[in-house]
């Protein structure tokens, strides 16, 4: 294989109480990346279409991830990367994660899969790290693996595919204003109340239990974030209005995706997600901010190969 074209999905991360540890892919949105072997050693961005990202290989998350992978795998060739960027940078739905994951996935495939997909996560995280103040794996892991992924740490045994009840869907709205991940981290307090921790731990434990037992009532009680959302929602126009509408229309939970400004809701069944889509669009039209929305099954698919030669 000399050339591979992949679809690398956008991802919802910081899923409610799962701050920095839980994420899942959005089926219907992602970047296309074409990666080709080259006689020229090293990794380069040779083309960017769609939304702009850095061409400089020191600054592009795809090349930064890839460089680290290549340092370890020492292939006898280089790689050219083309990106068709459909995910807006700074939108809170894993724009950088998509490319950081896509490049290492593609290169690993071109080299005959020397590493497992789980092993690729730590490389993807290194790229992801340059776009925020800290390296966090809750976008790259679900992009690579698909499904609802909990990452306790980057070692393989700490990357956990949680069960997904049959009927889980998500709605996502991406207001087209940029919130820098680094800024969105800065506004968080460095310390929190011990009692807030206990609540977050309990909610996350209950969420994991609810997923294992397909307990939708418990999902509704546990898809809650008492720690992060209250700080970051100030950066998102009409957040409370959108959230209240989602809950009113039956969402199991609603919170900020990644570091915002995207907002996600999780629903039981597609119908609720579609109803939410219709009503939240009405709310956002009043803001005069451009936006896109997505309705997607919470699926077990991660990066998909579109073509290879």
């Amino acid at each position: 294989m000399n050339k591979i074209k992949i679809f690398s999905p956008a991802t919802v991360s910081n899923v409610a109480c799962g701050f920095d540890i839980l994420g899942f892919p959005i089926e219907s949105l992602g970047d296309e990346m074409t990666i080709s072997k080259s006689k020229n050693i090293g990794v380069r961005i040779t083309k960017v279409e769609g939304y702009p990202v850095p061409i400089d290989s020191q600054k592009n998350v795809a090349t930064v991830s890839a460089e680290k992978l290549i340092q370890d795998l020492k292939p006898n060739c280089g790689f050219d990367i083309e990106i068709k960027k459909n995910i807006i940078p700074g939108s809170g739905i894993g724009s950088s994660g998509s490319n950081a994951a896509g490049s290492v996935f593609g290169i690993n495939k071109l080299l005959g899969d020397p590493l497992t997909t789980k092993q690729l996560i730590k490389y993807a995280m290194i790229g992801e790290g340059i776009s925020s103040l800290s390296e966090h794996p809750d976008n790259v892991a679900p992009a690579l693996l698909g499904g609802l992924i909990m990452v306790k740490s980057v070692e393989e045994e700490n990357i956990i595919s949680l069960p997904i009840p049959n009927d889980l869907f998500c709605f996502v709205i991406n207001p087209k204003i940029e919130v820098k991940t680094s800024y969105s981290r800065e506004i968080l307090p460095s310390k929190i109340e011990l009692s807030s921790m206990t609540k977050q731990v309990a909610n996350f434990g209950a969420l994991v239990h609810a997923l294992h037992t397909s307990n939708y009532d418990l999902l509704r009680l546990s898809l809650v974030d008492n720690v992060i959302e209250k700080h970051r929602k100030k950066l998102i126009p009409s957040f409370d209005k959108v959230k209240n509408k989602c809950i009113e229309l039956g969402a199991l939970g609603c919170s900020i995706s990644g570091s915002g400004p995207s907002i996600f809701a999780i629903t039981k069944g597609k119908d609720d997600a579609i109803k939410i889509d219709i009503e939240v669009k009405k709310i956002y039209k009043e803001t005069n901010i451009d936006f896109s929305t997505y309705v997607s099954k919470i699926s077990s698919d991660g990066i998909k190969i579109i073509d290879s030669i």
Copy 2:
């Protein structure tokens, strides 16, 4: 039924990353309580054998719990409570929780079970509250329900029986020095690092997943407390020595039970628990502190009825 005699178990709480939310009963240790209907309205402690607890019904956790229950149920009789106290107060293994749970369990039985066992938890917690700075349900809930119980809050739908892999045992050592729950709460910081919260959340989520999947390797990785143990271990002689020995001998995890000074270890199989028992006894004999140890299956039994007439 006019009189009931019950065994109300000691409980391990604050199970590693499950601070204030996770506990389980110790099969082989508990208080015996005999509760009788009386023509005299109200609740009284009529006898205490074994370790001392207050006779004053305003100060005894059993009567405080019971008073609240009686306020709501309005029975046309009163109750006399005898306690044979085998659990040392202030030992970190649910001494007060045992009695707070036992009294409401017994009275509810004598009244023909007007409430479910889950509904009794909030009453038991009220009694438990007078022995510490805050009401916390992770002793009374497992004492009442049996099993490995996670309490997100006291509402029924937030009380969760977690699955227990077949082969889980615990070892507990109770050094016979008193650590007041209230003091042990005071030495905790009121605020913690956000990154510490994320670790605790991830560990607890992984623990719940590991229990559902009988994944002993993941149990070992997740039965960890990075937040509380480091503060409270100072109150417990030879804590590090005991913990290191437990881990060396194969324990899946080891931490402080409740607010200490008791220490628990969780093992795969009884053999490891017995080995730990032998070696930890040697360590504690060197301290010249009196102590007891217990080896117990992590069982699904809570309070047991010994006799009733």
